[in-house]
């Protein structure tokens, strides 16, 4: 069984998922331009220990498959009703209450309106997918593992990183950093770049908005900052209503408490993920996008220090 309980400790989660002989992947995006330097292939791992309220990849949270339905593409042909015992003509363009997410409706949908997020993939399949665009990576591009949370499936990720390392392909990790200490140490030499989220510094507030404590996260960031500072980019989400001045001062204090100077990326909230919530039949988060520019400026000012380097948009 793949765990999806935020109450589980990082150690338990990794131990359980280590039993998996293949990874659970919900998307692979080639020619990706926002997930690290150069042109990249982004591999999105299914399942995340955090439940961030503002999550832009809601289909990546659960470790189980999810069914997404794009109502705009549905042509009302009824093909899905012929293979599904629970779907009816009435909810053809939606998801039935009793849906067990078997994915058969997605298999037969001629318009591509139904999509099953969460395929089992082997290491070789991942490597093959990444290699498809190797000619376009140049010296900076490569593969980025994100999610969901890639460290949630550490043994599988480790094998992917090792294989890509042997092939000389640049690898980046886009992580929430909620993992156990052994993994923190083990991942560092295997990857070329770690992009670690620092979501909220206040412990209680972090638990309230993400569902878990940030102790392991802060520990991981301190470790990577001490042991491989050049490999570490820290990503700061800026969410209206959550990241106000007080929070930014705490972030500043934490960053300046680190052993080495840091490179940070400001990642303002955007509502582009809302459509995925709708396709999953869930209520999208409601944050005020208009306030983003203001917070961004606040963050620039609050974090202005010679030990903090702002990275430009990739």
């Amino acid at each position: 069984m793949i765990p999806n309980d935020p109450a589980l400790s990082p150690a338990t989660a990794c131990a359980v998922s280590a039993e998996a002989d293949a990874g659970r992947i919900f998307d692979i995006q080639r020619m990706s331009i926002h997930d690290g330097p150069g042109t990249r292939t982004s591999v999105f791992f299914k399942g995340c220990p955090l439940h961030c309220t503002w999550c832009q990849n809601p289909e990546g949270i659960s470790s189980y498959p999810d069914l997404l339905v794009d109502k705009n593409r549905c042509i009302g042909c009824g093909q899905c009703t012929t293979v599904c015992p629970v779907i009816s003509t009435d909810d053809e363009s939606g998801t039935a209450q009793q849906c067990v997410i078997c994915g058969r409706c997605a298999d037969v949908c001629p318009a591509g309106a139904r999509y099953l997020a969460g395929q089992r993939m082997s290491v070789s399949e991942i490597v093959q997918a990444v290699q498809r665009d190797q000619a376009f990576y140049g010296t900076q591009g490569g593969a980025t593992f994100g999610g969901g949370e890639p460290l949630w499936q550490w043994p599988f990720l480790r094998d992917c990183l090792d294989r890509l390392g042997e092939l000389g392909i640049h690898t980046a990790l886009d992580t929430c950093a909620y993992t156990e200490e052994s993994v923190i140490a083990e991942v560092a030499p295997r990857v070329n770049l770690i992009m670690a989220d620092l979501k909220i510094v206040d412990r209680d507030k972090h638990a309230r908005w993400t569902g878990v404590s940030n102790d392991p996260i802060l520990k991981a960031i301190r470790f990577w900052n001490r042991n491989c500072p050049d490999k570490l980019w820290i990503s700061l989400p800026l969410v209206p209503g959550i990241h106000w001045a007080e929070e930014l001062l705490e972030v500043r204090a934490f960053l300046l408490s680190l052993e080495n100077p840091v490179k940070i990326r400001l990642v303002p909230y955007h509502s582009v993920g809302s459509i995925k919530y709708e396709q999953l039949g869930r209520q999208p988060p409601d944050f005020d996008s208009d306030a983003v520019d203001y917070i961004f400026e606040q963050a620039r000012n609050a974090l202005n220090d010679e030990r903090i380097e702002f990275l430009p948009e990739p």
């Binding site: 042109t39 042909c77 001629p110 900076q140 591009g141």
Partner: protein, 770 residues
């Protein structure tokens, strides 16, 4: 390979002269535009006065009188003098707004049109053409094989009118007086009447060009005094030098190059007058000045900025090419290669600047080429020497000549001064051939039967495919009869005295370029809608033969009803079948096979002048695929009757597509060494790909990756559908938004509405899917 001619100073910050801003405003307001009807009036007079003279002399006389009688354009900020036709329509059908300007410039071809917006007294002159309408060239084989165009199967036409790339270096080396001397020497030798007329024609243009230089001297001096502009005295001195001898400096060589291009523009009703390898042409002059200490890279950069401004046009298809391998095999990248590439984005003035690249090109050159492409200011693209040169060698082009190739106009590959080139000469629509084969020889659109002997059914896909190939060969066999006759008669209706002068051996042979004078006389034959036929063949094979979900007659019925009543199956084919542009190796293999099959159809043939056919992959033509007049019916791949075919190497407009690397992967499945004629490869990409800290590097990596996979030519549009839509709604706010089309670049707001919609659709297709 040597890159020693690339100096470090080109890597330093270069400064655009402040006057460029003012000059740009003036040229965008067409303050200096040479009225195209001025040339038309002179042509009318010449045709009346020299009615019985050989055509080559009439054409030369028109150019000559234009040089003698039309005032050269010279703005106070200019560094170069000469005519500027800024609003000539590029390619039929792209924009109707400026169509009249091209027609009125060449009434001897287009005849009279009472709707031309010109003063009545000028109209009165042109009414001559109402009474003496131009005779259109007659080709009996076109009549014999009119079924080819009637059903939209192919459009064989070996008379392109203007697509020939001269070697301007012939003029730059000898200078105007030197060329006149050569002609006089040749005239002193025995000649027949035709040769004598040819030489007289060439000489007439040169003498008038010399006069024009002196007129420019006067004009420059006059404006210099009136406007108190000292630099115009230098313009006068440069023109004075050109009247008396060959150019000595970079500025003088640019000025003579401009005059030479003017002669080409005055002679052709076409739109592809091009410069060739401009950095190689100018390098000796620049190097000499560097040695003498009379020029710096910054000063050269400034001259290039002014030269771009002088050449700016509203729609362009006038290629300049930089970089690439020299005839001796060394790398030709030089300071001027970089300076031209930098001038384009720095001045924000559009022109068709192309960059030849190869595996050993310097890194700074790749970056400059990528930077120029990302500026989106012209149709120019990158050309991969590592594929293009072997492709030419495969067609028996000598290696030194192959290495000296340059693109002309849109994308056609030529050897400057050594080719008389007929291009876009077939427009074979393989999807239409397949339609007829599926539909037992009957056209879906007209219901008329073209091939009554096609069987009703086929026992296997291979049998069907063999029949399709036989019919494609039949189309080619018929089309070649038309091409040969077009080639044979071209000299009778379209001699090219100026281009013949700039063809190696042109003076010695005293023979017109259009009569087979150059070393090579290829004909480039084009295929259109490659993605459409590949998708259709795959869907047909799967539905009827592999999965046997439909019998052939059922598929035929579905297509004859334009997919009516079959939305589910059509959606499945569009969305779930692999298609060209998704990087599926099965489709790539099909594309490679179909492209090769087309090229093979011409292997057994030679052109009228005994040369090779050069296959070419090109965009669609209005006659073949425009939805205004449907020619191609519904396809097994889900295309409806009249829906547009795929542009050149783009995916089909219908159905889903992959990311840009998928599309390039499928592009490169084709063996481009079979397509020396060029490939017109324009693709779309989300603008965000080139923004941010890594944007330029990403584009460099993309271009290198494409070339490494065997890509030949590529240009990328970085468009935003939102921005295009805003430009459509508020054109006054987007006067300079440039888009690359299949064979040219144009201001988006100048395009017809339906073409604007197609560009927006292309941008939407690639949005959020780099």
């Amino acid at each position: 390979m040597s890159t020693s001619s690339l100096t470090q100073s080109t890597q330093e910050k270069l400064h655009v002269p402040p006057e460029i801003a003012q000059l740009r405003e003036r040229i965008y307001a067409y303050e200096d535009e040479t009225q195209p009807w001025r040339r038309g009036v002179i042509a009318t007079q010449v045709w009346q006065e020299l009615e019985h003279e050989p055509l080559v002399l009439k054409k030369a006389e028109v150019i000559a009188r234009c040089f003698e009688q039309i005032k050269p354009a010279l703005l106070p900020e200019d560094r170069f003098a000469g005519f500027v036709f800024r609003r000539l329509q590029v390619h039929n059908g792209v924009s109707s707004e400026d169509a009249w300007r091209r027609q009125i410039k060449h009434p001897e071809i287009f005849g009279y049109n009472p709707n031309w917006p010109i003063p009545e007294e000028i109209h009165n002159i042109f009414t001559y053409w109402r009474d003496h309408p131009p005779k259109q060239p007659h080709n009996p084989y076109r009549e014999k094989h009119k079924w080819l165009t009637r059903y939209g199967i192919a459009n064989p036409n070996a008379w392109i009118g203007g697509h020939t790339l001269p070697d301007h270096n012939i003029l730059l080396e000898a200078g105007i007086p030197g060329m006149i001397k050569h002609i006089n020497e040749r005239l002193a030798q025995p000649t027949d009447d035709c040769q004598h007329a040819q030489l007289r024609a060439m000489k007439r243009i040169l003498e008038a060009m010399r006069t024009h230089c002196r007129i420019c001297v006067q004009e420059a001096n006059t404006v210099a005094i009136a406007e108190k502009r000292g630099h115009l005295q230098t313009v006068a001195e440069n023109c004075a030098q050109l009247a008396d001898g060959p150019p000595q400096t970079l500025a003088q060589s640019l000025q003579l190059l401009f005059f030479s291009n003017c002669a080409d523009i005055l002679d052709t009703d076409g739109d592809a007058t091009s410069f060739g390898r401009i950095d190689q042409l100018l390098q000796p002059f620049y190097e000499n000045e560097l040695k003498d200490g009379t020029i710096t890279p910054q000063r050269a950069f400034e001259l290039i900025c002014f030269f771009l401004a002088k050449n700016w046009r509203r729609q362009t298809s006038n290629n300049m090419c930089v970089g690439g391998i020299r005839p001796d095999g060394s790398d030709g990248t030089n300071d001027l290669s970089i300076l031209f590439l930098k001038a384009l984005p720095e001045t924000n003035i559009s022109c068709d600047l192309s960059a030849r690249v190869h595996g050993n090109a310097p890194e700074s050159y790749w970056e400059s080429a990528a930077s120029a492409m990302s500026a989106g200011l012209g149709r120019g693209g990158i050309y991969n020497d590592d594929v293009t040169i072997p492709a030419l060698e495969r067609k028996e082009i000598a290696s030194a000549d192959a290495r000296d190739y340059a693109p002309l106009g849109c994308v056609e590959v030529m050897i400057p001064g050594r080719t008389s080139f007929r291009t876009m000469c077939f427009s074979l629509n393989p999807l239409k051939v397949l339609e007829l084969v599926i539909n037992h020889g009957t056209c879906q659109v007209t219901g008329e039967t073209v091939w009554p002997d096609i069987p009703d059914g086929f026992s296997s896909f291979e049998e069907l495919h063999a029949e399709y190939r036989r019919r494609m060969q039949e189309v080619v066999d018929a089309g070649i009869e038309i091409l040969h006759e077009d080639e044979r008669t071209e000299v009778q209706h379209s001699p090219r005295p100026w281009l013949s002068l700039l063809s190696h051996g042109g003076i010695a042979d005293a023979l017109d370029l259009s009569a087979g004078q150059p070393k090579y006389n290829p004909v480039a034959v084009s295929i259109i809608g490659l993605a459409d036929v590949v998708n259709a063949l795959y869907a047909l094979q799967r539905l009827v033969f592999h999965e046997q979900r439909l019998r052939m007659e059922q598929l035929r019925t579905i297509l004859n009803h334009d997919w009516a009543g079959q939305p589910t199956l059509r959606q499945e084919v569009l969305n779930r079948f692999p298609r060209y542009g998704q990087g599926d190796p099965r489709i790539g293999a099909l594309a490679a096979r179909e492209a090769s099959g087309f090229a093979e159809c011409f292997e057994g043939y030679r052109t009228f002048y005994g040369d090779r056919f050069w296959p070419l992959i090109f965009g669609v033509t209005a006659e073949m695929a425009d939805c205004h007049e449907p020619r191609t019916g519904a396809s097994p791949a889900g295309k409806l009757k009249g829906e547009t075919l795929a542009h050149s190497l783009q995916p089909s407009p219908q159905g889903s597509r992959g990311c840009l690397s998928d599309i390039l992967e499928d592009n490169c499945a084709v063996d481009f060494s079979e397509f020396p004629g060029g490939i017109s490869n324009v693709q779309e990409c989300d603008r965000r790909f080139i923004t941010g800290a890594y944007g330029l590097n990403r584009l460099v990596d993309l271009l290198k990756g494409y070339c490494g996979k065997g890509g030949m030519e590529l240009s990328v549009n970085f468009l935003s559908a939102d921005e295009l839509r805003r430009a459509q709604q508020r054109p006054e706010e987007y006067p300079n938004l440039m888009v690359r089309l299949f064979g040219l670049s144009a201001y988006f707001v100048s395009l017809d509405k339906n073409l604007q919609e197609k560009v927006i659709t292309r941008a939407l297709n690639m949005e959020n899917k780099v």
